[in-house]
């Protein structure tokens, strides 16, 4: 591999490292333990070697969102480095040093918080390193620090003296200054320009960057037979046929699964197919999706825990000239990354090493250590790149890590690679929660909205996890309803409430989370209300915007202008608009859609985005395009269905079809110039495209689809 990516942390931080910075961070107990055990660089963000290579420790998981490149851009900007010097690696696991500052003391990647929480922290790391280099140069040259200029990795003095970062790195290794000043955004030279991704070459050439690519000698491959229903327990195992297969070494079972250990993957898969397991379904979830919809629907018909309440919605609805009511249904959705769950572990009684792609590496490390009966300080977590996460690798209950630890424990000291199949991945739960919205609006005699009443029924994926108390406050799980609240629009009386439901189906964050359904309901229901009185979709929205929602207004006006500039709508197509803010970022989108044999086909889309300062413009556009594709995919044909008895009906991409290239629209992205701190874009495109396409379809055909996906209309 010749690219900038170096996955061997030891190689990066080892002999070549001349100076390392710990930016006024306390040295916590756990990091101290790791220091003693490995090398003296574990709690740093930035290191510079003698060749001038600058390596940043990414506390966040690179899932494709470009976070490593974004974090490196912040450091490089304040350090006045040359982009070609920059490298990034996943940091060690540490809940204190590498905490997500948006969450407190937990190292976690999610909710599009990576860029925003690290923005000042990483810039400060870069600025501190710069100050240390300048101080070293000043001392070396016998000049004043303020006479030294730094540009693209070179320090210089008016006398003509000049040196590269690498030559001074060792000398710069001294006490960090307590306070450094950060650049004014108007002085940025790298941020906002095109910065090639640091991982482009590795990802083009098939470099071994994923957990599945780790091939330690003598590792056994483990496949798992998972329960056919959620909550079923192993009652009996017949492993005679499985063990007769060449290279199948052993079969072990635990409460919720049977593990096959084999010398290669083929044998492990054959063993998985050959083992016969009897199941006890006494604690299993046996309700079907239809059963759950019926219950959720009943619950949503009356208000739940109040999320927002202004005025007297019930009275206003009763008095309204006209009232409109609709129910929306959203299925379970699977993440379906192309890389299924996998991980590698090597352990004995003295400690272990784990290779895992995880959005919560320190918590996962602790859970694995616990399963193995080891002190977490003796377990090293190597965070790997992930072949798509979309929330799947962020486990409030640490389930992936727990299974890995549990099965490795069953295998005894040794080296193991766990590998889920596509079928495991599809049927394995941790879905976007099945959700029902019941929404009512009251209109006055002119058709203006005077009351809005939205009740959401779904389950919280924090239920039963260590995050439950932290995430469910005043009886509300914000991830269950986000996007239904804090609307940009104003009307006299307004209520949003949540009916908390329970099922045995494990659910989870799924890219854009609550916004996926809440954005759809808000923007399609509003579209219908505007349409009833002939209001223009764009102007009608602008008229409803709260005066202080200027950034919403700007993206909506911008996207309207973009579509206008694109010219007339071609014959047979129509356009739909949606406006939706998520994760602090504002977005409006217009989709151009035709009727493709009863299904919407989105040909083009225009997106206007305000994400504050645009760190890396090309990556922002990439993320929006990808989010649009991801959202469109879910709108069209994705659904996990629990059949009678509670078994998942889908098993692979054949019956859970994700978007293919021939259905990808051409997406044009524009960003609004801004000096506001940057906000996330990784999930942004997902929520708005769905109602935009549905609204276009509504205008094209007269049909407003309220049960997703569109393909499920065949079944109904």
């Amino acid at each position: 591999m010749t690219g900038p990516l170096d996955l061997s942390r030891r190689a990066v931080l080892g002999a070549g490292t001349a100076f390392v910075l710990s930016v006024a961070l306390p040295l916590p107990r756990r990091a101290a333990a790791q220091r003693a055990e490995a090398d003296a660089t574990f709690d740093a963000f930035v290191s510079i070697d003698a060749d001038g290579i600058i390596t940043i420790q990414s506390k966040h998981l690179e899932m494709g969102q470009g976070v490593m490149t974004g974090l490196a851009a912040m450091v490089a900007e304040e350090l006045d480095a040359d982009w070609s010097q920059m490298r990034a690696v996943h940091s060690p696991a540490d809940d204190e040093v590498y905490a997500n500052l948006a969450y407190g003391s937990v190292q976690a990647t999610g909710s599009s918080t990576s860029i925003s929480n690290a923005y000042e922290q990483m810039r400060r790391a870069g600025a501190t390193a710069r100050a240390m280099l300048v101080a070293a140069a000043a001392e070396d040259w016998g000049v004043s620090e303020d006479e030294i200029a730094v540009r693209r990795g070179t320090l210089s003095h008016p006398s003509g003296r000049e040196t590269e970062f690498g030559a001074l790195a060792a000398a710069a290794s001294r006490t960090a200054p307590q306070d450094v000043s950060l650049k004014d955004p108007s002085d940025f030279t790298l941020i906002g320009t095109h910065l090639p991704r640091l991982d482009a070459e590795a990802k083009t050439t098939g470099a071994p960057i994923f957990a599945m690519d780790e091939t330690p000698p003598s590792a056994l491959v483990m496949t798992i037979v998972h329960p056919p229903k959620f909550g079923s327990m192993v009652a009996s195992v017949d492993d005679v046929e499985a063990l007769a297969i060449k290279d199948v070494e052993r079969v072990a079972f635990y409460d919720a699964g049977v593990a096959i250990f084999a010398r290669d993957t083929h044998a492990a898969l054959q063993g998985r197919a050959a083992v016969r397991v009897g199941w006890n379904h006494i604690d299993a979830e046996t309700r079907s999706s239809a059963d759950l919809y019926a219950e959720w629907s009943g619950a949503a018909s009356t208000p739940g825990v109040i999320v927002e309440n202004r005025g007297d919605v019930d009275a206003r609805l009763a008095d309204a000239a006209e009232s409109v009511e609709a129910e929306y249904r959203f299925p379970f959705l699977a993440h379906m990354p192309i890389e299924p769950i996998d991980g590698v572990i090597r352990w004995d009684e003295t400690g272990g090493v784990v290779w895992l792609a995880t959005q919560m590496p320190a918590l996962d490390r602790d859970v694995i250590a616990g399963e193995l009966g080891l002190d977490p300080a003796t377990v090293t977590m190597n965070t790997m790149y992930v072949g798509g996460a979309f929330g799947r690798r962020s486990q409030p209950g640490q389930n992936i890590a727990r299974e890995l630890g549990r099965i490795a424990k069953a295998g005894g000291p040794g080296t193991y690679k766990i590998m889920w199949t596509r079928e495991d991945e599809t049927k394995g739960g941790f879905y976007r929660p099945l959700t029902v919205h019941n929404i009512k609006a009251g209109l006055d005699v002119d058709g203006a909205i005077v009351a809005w009443d939205n009740t959401i029924a779904n389950q919280s994926f924090f239920t039963g996890t260590m995050f439950e108390g932290w995430s469910i406050q005043d009886g509300i799980d914000k991830t269950a309803i986000e996007g239904a609240d804090n609307l940009p629009y104003v009307w006299p009386d307004h209520r949003v409430s949540w009916q908390r439901m329970y099922s045995g189906v494990p659910t989870l964050w799924w890219r854009a989370v609550g916004h996926t359904h809440a954005g759809y309901v808000t923007e399609t229901f509003l579209e219908e209300l505007l349409h009833r009185t002939g209001r223009d979709p764009v102007q009608g929205r602008l008229d409803l915007l709260a005066p202080d929602r200027t950034r919403d207004r700007a993206v909506l006006e911008k996207v309207a202008a973009m579509a206008e500039d694109a010219g007339a709508v071609p014959e047979g197509r129509t356009r739909g608009v949606a406006l939706h803010k998520s994760y602090g970022t504002y977005m409006a989108i217009i989709a151009e859609v035709s009727d493709d044999d009863g299904m919407p086909r989105c040909h083009r889309a225009w997106a206007a985005v305000d994400c504050g300062i645009v760190l890396t413009p090309d990556n922002v556009a990439s993320q929006i395009e990808g989010g649009v594709g991801f959202g469109l995919s879910s709108l069209l044909a994705e659904e996990i269905v629990l059949g009678d008895g509670g078994e998942v009906e889908q098993s692979s991409y054949v019956d859970y079809p994700i978007l293919t290239i021939d259905r990808m629209p051409h997406v044009e992205v524009a960003t609004i110039p801004s000096a506001a701190p940057p906000t996330g874009v990784g999930e942004l495109g997902v929520a708005p495209i769905r109602p935009a396409v549905a609204n276009a379809w509504f205008h094209l055909t007269g049909e407003m689809v309220r049960t997703l996906p569109f393909s499920s209309r065949d079944r109904a």
Partner: protein
């Protein structure tokens, strides 16, 4: 038992059962991990390889069906089309999670080997078996056009 395979121009001896899919022979027995697992049933394209220059899915190709066929994998994919595709992929700088991209590169190489100047429709038809959950498709199209232009310019 042992089977001789021709991988990236070299003969490789693999000690595996004859029904072992090429994917696992490559990954587990030969240490060639550029070819990825995604579905095991030829539905996602992550394991795309070239067999005698033709696009094939390694997860559904048992090694005893290969005979003396020549297998090319992403790990050592070469030739004018492959080089143009890889250069275009890096120039367009669009890989997100990156897991599917080796398969995309192999499939694009196969496309350009047969159709040096593909239209968008050609690309959509040839590449629709290559799933990308990050939906980088818009830039896959653009990169293939760039690679095609480079190939034409180089002739």
């Amino acid at each position: 038992m042992s089977l001789d395979l021709t991988i990236n121009g070299d003969t490789a001896s693999v000690d595996a059962t004859p029904d072992t899919p090429l994917l696992w022979a490559l990954r587990d027995h030969l240490g060639l991990t550029g070819t990825k697992y995604g579905c095991g049933i030829g539905q996602c394209g992550a394991c795309a390889v070239l067999i005698d220059g033709v696009l094939a899915y390694a997860c559904v190709t048992p090694i005893d069906t290969l005979g003396g066929a020549s297998v090319e994998t992403i790990d050592d994919l070469s030739g004018p089309a492959a080089e143009a595709v890889k250069a275009a992929w890096i120039a367009h700088d669009f890989a997100q999670c990156g897991y599917c991209q080796p398969g995309q590169v192999v499939a694009a190489t196969a496309l350009l080997s047969e159709t040096p100047a593909p239209t968008d429709a050609d690309i959509d038809a040839a590449m629709s078996g290559q799933l990308c959950r990050c939906a980088t498709y818009q830039r896959v199209r653009a990169a293939i056009h760039t690679a095609a232009a480079d190939l034409e310019g180089g002739e």
